[in-house]
């Protein structure tokens, strides 16, 4: 666009400034607080950078930073196991979403044209309903006096209610329920664009339906699966709502630990270092995703 320089600068400058101010600088602050020590004061961390003393003040500030919080997080089993729990939770959820979502996406993509939009619309609709409401529905269903237990009791299948709410089972159910659309949409979008002739060629060359699917369709739909896996994995790793509503405290996850460290214990430096480490945990899948999607593009 051939805008005059001043307008061009304005167009770049406004969103740039916004992102610098409300995205980049906050992260610099998180990093620096993660290297500080907790104190009982306002703000509850030390040292605090003050610009009054000029460069000497900055130097003084820098010398007081250390990696003590990271040592605490890495040495304490509670934190380590919550990272592992979170990653395990995210991996399992991603896998379950893929296993459940792929056949659904495939079925939608092979439906007649006017049904496709209706099915996508139907799944879309659940996705747009509030996240909290969708999770709340499972509290209604799974509670000790919930709908499922009531039905089982009245049918005489069980004598006393099964504990389903506040278990890992409930967390996985809630997570898969909440994130399944995020897997279905990208897989569907890829399948929808697939060129049918490759599949037909493999059929002509003597492959069975199932063989053709595994050797042609499945490999070709990898970009969609990757995108879906990514969309599910990242938010689930830091998930707070689902574990707090459907889970129990005996399986701590990192989202909850961070939240509690900040809101209940008021240990800001520790909370900041937990989030820095969480970012590091997430960098790996992001780099992998970039790598795989670049490779897909090159093909």
């Amino acid at each position: 666009m051939n805008l005059p320089i001043s307008r061009r600068n304005l167009l770049i400058g406004i969103p740039y400034t916004w992102l610098m101010l409300f995205f980049l600088i906050p992260f610099v602050i998180v990093m620096s607080i993660s290297l500080s020590d907790p104190v009982i004061a306002i703000p509850p961390y030390s040292p605090v950078l003050s610009t009054n003393d000029g460069l000497a003040g900055v130097w003084n500030y820098l010398t007081q930073l250390d990696f003590e919080n990271f040592a605490i997080v890495l040495e304490d089993d509670v934190y380590l196991s919550s990272y592992l729990n979170s990653v395990q939770m995210a991996l399992t959820t991603t896998l379950l979403c893929l296993l459940l979502g792929y056949p659904i996406a495939y079925a939608i993509a092979s439906s007649p044209m006017h049904w496709k939009t209706r099915f996508i619309m139907a799944i879309n609709l659940t996705f747009w309903c509030s996240f909290l409401i969708r999770i709340y529905a499972w509290i209604v269903l799974l509670g000790n006096q919930g709908v499922v237990n009531n039905i089982l009791l009245s049918l005489g299948v069980i004598d006393s209610p099964i504990q389903m709410l506040n278990t890992d089972f409930a967390v996985y159910l809630g997570l898969v329920y909440a994130y399944l659309p995020l897997m279905i949409f990208p897989v569907y979008a890829t399948l929808e664009k697939l060129d049918n002739s490759v599949y037909e060629a493999s059929r002509d060359l003597g492959c069975s339906h199932i063989e053709s699917f595994f050797r042609v369709t499945l490999p070709l739909s990898r970009p969609g699966m990757l995108a879906g896996a990514f969309l599910v994995f990242v938010p689930v790793t830091g998930e707070y709502i689902v574990p707090s509503l459907l889970g129990n405290a005996s399986t701590p996850v990192i989202g909850r630990v961070l939240w509690n460290e900040f809101f209940s214990n008021g240990d800001w430096p520790l909370a900041a270092s937990i989030s820095v480490l969480l970012m590091l945990v997430l960098v790996l899948p992001i780099v992998l995703y970039q790598f795989f999607s670049n490779r897909n593009e090159e093909k």
């Binding site: 969103p15 056949p103 079925a107 939009t117 659940t126 269903l141 006096q145 237990n149 049918n196 961070l258």
Partner: protein, 278 residues
């Protein structure tokens, strides 16, 4: 792809849709249950709707949420479209890769981190937290979603239309408003709706960035359902579901009319389908 729908496909589709809809259906049914005990069915009544309307507990937060969502989604749409313009049209300027990185990063960070980071910024700046800080926070993550959707549409846009407008004597800004904007408008509307919905629904970032006196509807609902089942929440959920259904059907009818050819892309949530094709 155009293939035969197998029995396996029909089965998984049916089971999938049942899985997606049964919990919601149960909520709706039980919202008309008169019993105090959520799970025991006594007889149908509108008791919980009455409670919801007379109980002031939800109206204040609902109004706050609506105001926050409106302002932040408008801001996010404007900023997001600006980002898209910069990303698609300006190939060279200092710090471009940092800029592009910053527009994507909020999409790939868990909300707890974004929320914590923004809260620490507001405290460091000495800003009083409340209405404004929540709006800033919501705008910051929503604008990135907006830019993903709009960028994808603009990348497909044929620049020759705009060039033709320039040749016919339009200035660069006029050419954009007359030639490009109408073409990308459906994407902008979809992006605005997504930004609005994301803001309406947000709990984590809001809790971090809000201040005393500002409670949004998700925050209120969350604190209610933490302790278990609340019949009036069933009624509230039913109303939200009804509202979402109406908006979704209206917008799908509108998109059908305006862009019948882009059926699939318009109906799936744009962010995800675009990410898939990216």
């Amino acid at each position: 792809m155009n293939r035969h729908l197998s029995w396996f496909g029909i089965t998984s589709l049916t089971l999938g849709l049942a899985f997606m809809y049964l919990p919601i259906l149960v909520l709706v049914i039980y919202s008309f249950n008169d019993s105090e005990m959520i799970t025991l069915w006594s007889h149908p009544s509108l008791r919980w709707y009455e409670k919801l309307f007379t109980d002031g507990n939800y109206w204040g937060p609902a109004w706050t949420t609506l105001r926050i969502s409106l302002v932040s989604s408008v801001l996010a749409t404007i900023l997001g479209v600006m980002i898209s313009l910069v990303v698609t049209r300006m190939r060279k300027f200092k710090g471009r890769s940092l800029f592009v990185g910053m527009t994507i990063a909020p999409l790939v960070l868990p909300e707890v981190i974004t929320g914590l980071a923004l809260l620490l910024l507001f405290i460091a700046m000495g800003v009083e937290r409340g209405f404004m800080t929540v709006i800033i926070a919501h705008t910051t993550f929503a604008m990135c979603f907006v830019s993903v959707i709009v960028t994808a549409r603009m990348a497909e846009f044929d620049m020759s239309t705009e060039e033709a407008a320039r040749d016919l004597g339009c200035g660069p800004v006029m050419a954009f408003f007359h030639a490009t904007l109408p073409a990308i408008l459906p994407a902008i509307v979809a992006a605005f709706l997504l930004a609005f919905a994301l803001s309406l629904d947000n709990l984590v970032v809001t809790t971090f960035t809000t201040g005393p006196g500002i409670t949004t509807l998700p925050m209120r609902v969350f604190s209610e359902i933490r302790t278990g089942v609340k019949p009036e929440i069933n009624a509230l959920s039913t109303m939200v579901i009804l509202l979402v259904t109406c908006v979704a059907i209206t917008s799908s009818l509108l998109t059908k009319r305006s862009a019948a050819k882009r059926v699939a892309a318009a109906d799936s949530p744009p962010a995800t389908s675009q990410l898939a094709s990216a």
